[in-house]
Amino acid sequence: MKVLLKAAVIATIMAIALPLAVFATGTGEKGGAAGGTAKYAIVFKNTGNPYGDRQMGGFKTGIEEQGFQAILRAPDQPTAEGQIQIIEQLISQKVAAICIVGNDKDALQPVLTKAKNAGIKVFSLDSGVNPASRLTHVNQADSEKIGTTLIEAAFDMAGGEGDIAILSATSQATNQNLWIDFMKKTLALPKYSKLNLVKVAYGDDLRDKSVSEAEGLLASFPDLKVIIAPTTVGIAAAGKVLTDKGLGGKVFLTGLGLPSEMATYIESGVCPYMFLWNPIDVGYLGAYVATGLVSGKIKGAVGEKFTAGKLGERSITQAPDGGTEVLLGPPFRFDAKNIADWKTVY
């Protein structure tokens, strides 16, 4: 009897503790109770990612200043399976729109189609999904431009000729693979004929693996002049490796990185300059795309124009993968002159 009582007590404790835990650690719903206001959801790649948090924060700001409720979700592992589960939950909550930052270009198609059939407006942001899954895509910068800008930077740092290497994220990453394709296309141009891409290495966005791959590049290719790392984890890892080995000034680094992570390496000169964009603005733009789609102001077709709050007017253009996209703007350059201003922002 006593033991059965204990079991019942523990079950009751859990029944009380669970909702308490929910409210204590916070839910992804911000602003207002459930019910009247329309809900707009953004699903990022994974939790614990400050870049993603900034993006979702920008989205939330944009949604709330229009008077609606924002839901911010992300799986704890950067998998498509995790995002599928979240999208199912959002469909049950009958949200108005889903903004997805995809972990996989194709694997979300069935569940996003289900969302579309339920009347939810679906579009992607940052890391896109295939055109069949989305109405449109919010791109932080022109993918081709990112590719050409990075190669131009490498050209500049290498002094016109030499070996360069790319340190990427996972081999399956949508964004990186797209940019690398454009980088390779750019390298085929006659201007860059003296630049030699020796290897594309994958650091899997893991610190230790990125460090090993960076060290491997340096050991295998002693004439390496530039490392291009179009991923925030990769570029920070490469920066640390170059600093620890005292190669600043002999091997240069560029790519896409977070100002906070790269401040030390930009100031020391290991990375003369790098690029990124403001993730807060990307999310903010996404918020206006969401409301625009739901209100019917835009339908995701090429040529449509809309106003994105503080950011001003934007138009929908043709995307390289056959669908449509909205661009935030050109990639932003971080160097020793402006890094001090940006390192505390994100």
Binding site: K6, P19, T25, T27, R73, D76, A107
Partner: protein
């Protein structure tokens, strides 16, 4: 005071209800109560019928994993097997193989992977199942990467997506398949001599062998079954995603093991029943879903599931406080006949 012979108290309401499975039922009810109070969207027929579609693909692995753990072993290569089978199926389909045959190929590949595990483990008895399946886990997924590199492969025929998304009437196909497998495994484990022998091996491998149980054959069979079920998981997961890549099903093995241990199966072998893990699947699945309906953050969910796991085990252990129960895992590890007398190194 330790008793040499445990007196059989016979059946009573008390012993019936003090089983782990009933605690799980309690927890399941508690989870549903909490979920309903948290969100108005929860308590619908649709929830109970269609939500399982989201987590049942993993569930096919829980049943053979129960057997593996009762054997006293473990298999962490299941997710990689699923990935490899899916990749090969997709590639062969696009090379011209008709889809039904590709599906069969998927199951064949997965079963073969399980067979390899079983053979390695029984041929090299010095190696624990941990290290063998760890190696094959890396190898199988590695092969998947070699085959498909950084591409995705999809575009399956329309009927294939109904595996993961379709229903017969209101009941999802995946739920039907799961139910059938659950019954089959339940019968296998609890009503056949095959199942009894699994328990025997789990309790004392050497004693089982010398009692005439064909331990090698049974171990290989269990791992082959695990491979086959990994194939099922692969089929349903690929259908849910409409495409596949080498990195699918990542992390599945740990979730499956969590469900099995939550279901009361002891990792020291020889104890546990199929009912527990089956309940655990739904507990974790619905907990996930219900809390997701109120948009709880992923990290909070992590903490909650962790607490759930520990608290439920604590309750079960409290149960045994009154009795004179050995507080160490079942039998001492048997001496392997291929090793000389075990001496402290």
């Amino acid at each position: 005071m330790e008793r040499a012979i445990r007196v059989d108290k016979g059946w009573s309401w008390r012993t019936f209800f003090l089983q782990w499975e009933w605690l799980l039922v309690l927890i399941f009810i508690a989870v549903n109560v909490v979920n309903s109070t948290l969100s108005p969207y929860y308590l619908t027929l649709d929830t109970f019928l269609s939500t399982p579609q989201t987590f049942l693909d993993m569930a096919f692995l829980v049943m053979p994993m129960t057997m593996v753990i009762i054997l006293g072993m473990i298999d962490i290569s299941v997710a990689s097997t699923a990935a490899l089978a899916a990749v090969i199926m997709a590639v062969c389909f696009h090379a011209g193989l008709p889809m039904p045959l590709a599906v069969v190929l998927n199951l064949a590949v997965a079963t073969a992977c399980g067979l390899v595990n079983g053979i390695l483990i029984t041929r090299f008895k010095e190696l624990s199942s941990v290290i063998v399946t760890l190696a094959t886990m890396i190898i199988y997924r590695g092969i998947a990467y070699v085959i498909l590199t950084d591409q995705a492969s999809g575009d399956f025929p329309k009927w294939y997506s109904s595996l993961g998304w379709g229903s017969v009437g209101k009941v999802p196909i995946i739920l039907i398949a799961f139910a059938i497998c659950a019954v089959v495994f339940g019968v296998l484990l609890h009503k056949t001599s095959f199942g009894r022998r699994i328990y025997a091996i789990g309790n004392n491998l050497t004693a089982a062998r010398y009692s005439g149980v064909k331990t090698d054959a049974i171990i290989v069979t269990v791992f082959v079954l695990t491979g086959l079920m990994a194939g099922f998981t692969s089929l349903f997961l690929t259908s849910r995603m409409g495409s596949t890549r080498p990195n699918v099903a990542q992390g599945y093995e740990l979730s499956v093991i969590a469900m099995v241990v939550l279901g009361g199966v002891s990792t020291s072998g020889g104890k546990g029943r199929i009912g527990g893990p089956l309940l655990a699947i739904f507990i974790i699945g619905f907990l996930n879903y219900g809390l997701g309906l109120v948009n709880i953050q992923a990290q909070s969910l992590l903490i909650i599931v962790g607490l759930l796991l520990i608290l439920s085990v604590l309750v079960l252990n409290l149960r045994f406080r009154g009795r004179a129960q050995r507080s160490v895992p079942s039998a001492p590890k048997p001496v392997d006949s291929s090793e000389p007398t075990k001496r402290i190194p």
